[in-house]
Amino acid sequence: MQFFSREHLRSVFTKPTNYINTNRGEAYYKALYEKMRKRLDELKAMSPVREADIKFEKMLDMWELSRRDFLKWVSATTALLMLPPNFEPLVAEAAEVMNRVPVIWINIQDCDGNSEALLRSSAPTVDELILEYLSLEYHETLMAAAGDQAEEALEKAVHDFKGKYLLFVEGSIPVGMPEAFTIGRHPETGVERVQRLAKDAAAVIAVGACAAFGGIPAAYPNPTGAVGVMDVVKGKPIVNIPACPANPTNMVGVIMHYVLTGELPELDSLLRPKFAFGYRIHDNCERRAHFDAGEFVEEWGDEGAKNNFCLYKMGCKGPFTFNNCSIVRYNDGTNWPIGIGRGCIGCSEPDFWDKYATERPLAASNIRPPGLNGVESTVDQVGLGILTATVIGIGAHAVASLVAGKKSDENNQ
């Protein structure tokens, strides 16, 4: 597929799979409520994975978080999962029974960035707390055990929670060059490790751009033949939570959904949960009004930059990128790249290193923003605008990345 072809751009702008229905009618929610109620009662009847674990209340207390903070988090999470407000009590209960779900977190070809994002967005939020409260049976960076002891813990967890644990994978898997990742006393390659641990998992959750789609190791020329989890694991439910790094809020969202329903959330064609990847960055961007008004940053540091104008001409890929950064932001909602005037690089899309992350290509020429046609109708029209624009005049810069992209396509085939 040609990235700059008319068909591709049209498909990006009118992707039907990402249509999300935020109001499914009373009957639907009533049935869902019943289902969740039942599931939670079942979980409550179970005992925590580890008996000695602390109670959730005490955990909140230890971190000096009040019940009020917790309730605020509950409302936010309920909204994140696109559930009506009357589901809030269920979400609160679900948080308290989260230690019934064992989690194993493994790292393959990674940079540890997603673990980092998870561990400390900015200050310990309820999100992070939840991740701690989870029964995290294995995490090579966070755990106190080390060496053989740690490997034993992993084997034991796999054995004890066969078919029940959630497997989180961070990092891509080098299929082309298995030597690029080996671990263990009896060396195991990345593919072997992921496949073995996925076999007994309830579901596999690929965290970050690398685990989801291969990410940066898979960028042209893909020196290690890296691929994402879904290319290696077959016959298991898989959820991708891409972005570089993945947002901890979305990780928690997926786990919450699993606890509430025993199922994975609704996914799009790239296996991303729709509640998080259902919109483009552009749709909810704080700078959107400037786009519609035709007010753009033309150069770093210009008047537009000082006035928070739209970054589209500076190469922002927000109109092409499905993610909820514009709503949940990073580091505990402190900020996000567009907030400081750095355009989106499209990090939650497949192959973004070759196709999106380059400085300006898609926005390298003048576009005429259709300011008068109302917010929602603009997206497609802008798309068509770019379409003509890209055909006529992309700079050498864009051509270079285009070539890189093409080559990687050939490479992948």
């Binding site: 990674d110 940079c111 900015s122 030597e179 990742f181 006393r185 020329p221 990073y330 900020n335 400081i340």
Partner: protein
């Protein structure tokens, strides 16, 4: 008969394996194996020059910002190499310093409490407060190391993987309110550092010149751990080579230099990377006998050098640390202390930077020439959390022809060469206890993802 043992080192960034050769109850030879490889240098080839600004930060999830700064420097130096002047406002320079410093602080706090101290729990169960997740001290460390990165988010948009710096300046336009917020965060973390970590007033702490003086005056966690370490016999283990390397000046507390017996200036042309024992040779992967890690072996004038906070202290001719290296025959304790010491020095510096920002200056000054016209080769340097970081870019027709990254951890934890072991390998030779060997390796602040990239 020598016995070979392989151990996986957890609780570090990434994955590292130790291969220890035992003889008569002591470690006779040691191999540090970094088994994870992604190929950043190959991915960067043929990409547009500015793309490096978003790609290199992804080398590491914990010190990615240092890579961004090193890339920015390299590209700015490329302008200079081509004979063009490039102007960066003081404001932009200060903002870069601030965000880089915050990244160093978060790393140091977390390394000390999450990676170093848990090992001491195995010897002494009195340190209950430090226990992972359940201990109050552990949680506090997570809290404050998380808090400080909020400043990076204020200026850089997100952390990890920040990409907001470009040749000519930075992209953000901070407001007075944001500066105030950042200052209050620094004050808050500084208070924590004084109360908990060093347990004394920071000015008093800076005046200390001797070990005994510190042990007498301090009431903090650092003192507790140092005493514990002395008690456990760490005073004379963990020495690598008495050679230290620092590549950048960061006013007022870091000065570049190369120290072995005496100090001289750093000269990048004396750096070379040896590939004899690395799986990577001449840009190709090779798995022949004897090769054992993806890391290379950087050498300065053919010799291995240690880099990192201890090197920075020695090269800055810090009296306290020069005395410490005399007190302790091994460098395990000084190495840990130097890293913790740096937190205080940097916090004070950040506050100064923040107070000196003039918001009326431009954030970005457009370079006079388009970057596509640049050719040739340039270096970028940066003092990162784990030590000295070197980037080298070779440009051709506006694209990257070759990119070379020499990370701090590859100096410390890389492979051996024909004549010398890497500093961390050297530091554990002769030890009789495997836990202690692991602890010494952790004292270098292991990050395998940077080591191999």
């Amino acid at each position: 008969m020598a016995k070979v043992e392989k151990r996986i080192l957890n609780r570090v960034e990434g994955e590292v394996e130790l291969k220890l050769v035992w003889e008569k109850g002591r470690i006779k030879d040691a191999f540090i194996i970094a088994p994870n490889f992604r190929g950043f240098e190959f991915i960067l080839e043929n990409k547009p020059l500015l793309d490096a600004l978003v790609i290199t930060p992804r080398v590491c999830g914990i010190c990615g910002h240092a890579h961004l700064i090193a890339t920015t420097n390299a590209l700015e130096n490329l302008y200079r190499e081509n004979g063009y002047e490039i102007e960066v406002s003081q404001k932009a320079q200060l903002i870069r310093n601030i965000t880089l410093s915050c990244e160093i602080i978060q790393n140091h706090i977390r390394w000390f409490y999450l990676f170093v101290i848990p090992d001491f729990l195995k010897f002494n169960t009195d340190l209950k407060d430090f226990y992972p997740i359940k201990g109050e001290k552990w949680r506090k460390a997570v809290y404050y190391s998380s808090k400080i990165v909020k400043i990076i988010a204020i200026f850089g948009g997100q952390w990890p993987h920040t990409s907001y710096s470009i040749p000519g300046g930075v992209m953000c336009e901070p407001t007075q309110m944001e500066l105030m917020e950042a200052i209050s965060i620094v004050d808050n973390v500084l208070e924590y550092f004084e109360n908990d970590v060093i347990g004394m007033n920071i000015d008093d702490y800076f005046s200390i010149k001797f070990l005994e003086e510190f042990l007498e005056k301090s009431k903090g966690d650092l003192k507790k751990i140092i005493e514990e370490a002395i008690k456990l016999g760490f005073s004379d283990i963990g020495k690598a080579y008495d050679r230290f390397l620092t590549v950048c000046n960061v006013s007022p507390f870091i000065s570049q230099g190369v120290t072995r017996r005496k100090k001289c200036n750093f000269d990048v042309s004396k750096v070379e990377e040896i590939e004899t024992f690395s799986f990577l040779e001449n840009g190709k992967s090779k798995f022949s006998k004897g090769k054992y890690s993806w890391a290379k072996a950087p050498r300065y004038e053919g010799k291995p050098f240690e880099t990192g906070p201890l090197a920075r202290r020695i090269n800055n001719e810090d009296e306290l640390f020069i005395n410490l290296t005399k007190n302790f025959k091994g460098y395990y304790i000084p190495r840990i202390w130097a890293r913790v010491d740096e937190i205080g020095k940097i916090l004070v510096a950040i506050k100064k930077y923040l107070l000196n920002i003039n918001l009326n200056e431009p954030s970005y000054i457009k370079p006079k020439v388009d970057i596509k016209n640049l050719e040739g080769q340039a270096y970028g340097f940066c003092e990162a959390a784990r030590g000295s970081l070197i980037h080298k870019v070779i440009a051709k027709e506006g694209k990257i022809e070759k990119y070379d990254i020499i990370t701090p951890t590859v100096w410390n934890l890389g492979t051996r060469c024909k004549n010398y072991l890497s500093p961390a390998e050297k530091a554990i030779i002769g030890l009789s206890d495997k836990l202690k060997a692991e602890m010494v390796v952790r004292s270098f602040d292991v990050c395998s993802v940077c080591t191999t990239h």
